[in-house]
Symmetry: C2
Subunit: 336 residues, 2 copies
């Protein structure tokens, strides 16, 4: 698999690091890197890593030129959470014959927020014979693919309850900032009022689960509240006093009539005592699935992207959601 | 989805019952039933259920005639655990243009035990444009698909440990008999010596996981031991005295060199205290996944089959393993 990394912010650089580590397996190779940051352009991407290495792969801002100059199977795309700001990038990749695995949260299930863009992406992907898919740990796995998988051995399913508790204090700094660690309840209210706060992708996960089950939701109800810290918590980046905001409690319920048939409950805050991922399937048989300790998101996001590379490359052309790719599995790992 | 049920032993009849229950969704319909039992031929299949219903679908032993007379999308095939005894049935289904979802354990990953048959099935499936896949709860989900899914968010994976503990006392009578509930250690040894005792499909699950991870195993080591009951256990069908056989402890290890990199450990016995399914992925991040209470196999086997119907129908033609179908999910269920 020849891979081009499109976007080398924190996630993109971690992806580069992971791809380079996997090169010894002979199954994957980094052949190009695209970014618009003037401080990165022209540099060997390996020199931008925390532990610098020589790779010979030079960062370029000319995406078209990179995609034309190399034989690329899959682009790992990590430039934005929002679809309208990067639609052109996906089209370019498709035109150059590259499959795309993207971390764009809105791409994970774009049919509701961006039906027209979704239709265009599907058409362009089919025209050029490539697969385009959005994935990551959440959306893309913890609160959608894992939940659907849990329903796969039930004959009846009446309700699905999905929960994820993340100790934000163990995560990277941007995530701690993103959940509002250390801010006051008033600041939280102000941020919430902007409509740009909270976890991106919860609605996409809900819709993916509903679609996977073939359930037509009649409404959805979203809630975003602060988690107020009951203790003083010191992370490597923030100090959260007792009574300050520790993070977010973000949930969404999908209804059929007055019944909340799919619920997603996400808590991301510093000092969380019992981080875990859980899916409860009310059905026959019921399924009570838990990932003890939770799925560590910083690494898992990268893994979800890189592990999707061969699955995207071998899928039928078009815009896909991860539920329609084959069963996820680790790629290019070394047993020992 | 128009479905023909091929084989109505206990599993097949449960499948029929489940399909009939799902018919109200308008997504699935039973259009034919095939079986060779003289006591069943000519009867309305609904009359063979524990709670009889009229269906108008008459059991026939003439498989070719049934498959020709109805418009069939998928055959649910439940006639045998062994591939060589039912290969002809698969070929017939393919020739009639029907996709097949089969409970045949050896079909779940047939490439090692039956490479030539696997090649022939793949060829015939491709020739007639149908998908043929073997599935069930185990093999097909608990110790393979679920384990692969657990590795899907790890960048490194070094080892995978899979365990399943089943309280056989809560399962149907044939399963309790199959694991040797109530027999003596000597009888267990005699049964084991026949080579036809123990769980069928453990090796298939191991090979599916290894293949999914792209790991080349250099050897495998299988062990089958009795679980000796430490207490008197009375099930609806058997009484197991303290010191008698309660069931089986069947395990397999897949090695790379001297390292056991994939282990599957299955205990099925009456009176099991802590039934569960678990996958531990040694990797980055590690994944510690557990299904509390376990996956109830009698129902889950049926669910795995029926839920695979639309996935098989929409897949590319050929012989597939479940890991290569889209992410599993419940089919034709009703939220409430």
């Amino acid at each position: 698999m020849n891979v081009v990394q499109f976007g080398i912010g924190p996630i993109g650089l971690e992806s580069v690091k992971t791809i380079l580590q996997k090169q010894s397996t002979g199954k994957i190779r980094l052949v190009g890197v695209i970014d618009i940051d003037p401080n990165k352009i022209g540099k060997d991407v390996g020199h931008l890593l925390a532990e610098p290495v020589d790779t010979g792969v030079i960062v370029s801002s000319d995406a078209a030129a990179v995609l034309e100059s190399v034989d690329v199977d899959v682009v790992v795309h990590t430039t934005s959470s929002f679809l309208d700001s990067m639609y052109d990038q996906l089209v370019l990749c498709a035109e150059k014959g590259a499959n795309v695995v993207s971390s764009t949260e809105e791409l994970s299930y774009p049919y509701e927020r961006h039906p027209q863009i979704a239709e265009k992406i599907d058409a362009v992907a089919k025209r050029y014979g490539v697969t385009i898919v959005g994935t990551g740990v959440n959306p893309g796995y913890a609160m959608d693919v894992l939940a659907l998988t849990a329903t796969g051995v039930s004959t009846d399913v009446h309700r699905v309850r999905i929960s994820r508790v993340v100790d934000a204090g163990k995560r990277r700094k941007p995530l701690q900032a993103k959940v509002g660690a250390g801010i006051s309840a008033e600041e939280f209210a102000e941020k919430k009022a902007t409509g740009k706060f909270g976890h991106i992708g919860l609605r996409e996960s809900l819709l993916m689960v509903a679609d996977g089950l073939g359930w037509e939701l009649t409404s959805a109800e979203e809630n975003l509240d602060p988690v107020i810290s009951t203790k003083k918590v010191i992370t490597p980046y923030f100090t959260v006093e007792e009574g300050a905001v520790a993070g977010i409690h973000h949930s969404i319920k999908g209804f059929v009539g007055s019944d909340a048939v799919i619920t997603l409950d996400l808590q991301m805050y510093v000092g969380a005592d019992d981080p875990h991922d859980a899916v409860f399937v009310e059905g026959t048989p019921p399924i009570d699935l838990i990932v003890r300790g939770g799925i560590f998101g910083d690494t898992a996001t990268i893994a979800a992207l890189v592990n999707a590379i061969p699955l995207a490359a071998s899928s039928d052309p078009g815009l896909k959601t991860v539920k329609d790719l084959p069963v996820p599995r680790a790629f290019a790992t070394v047993p020992q």
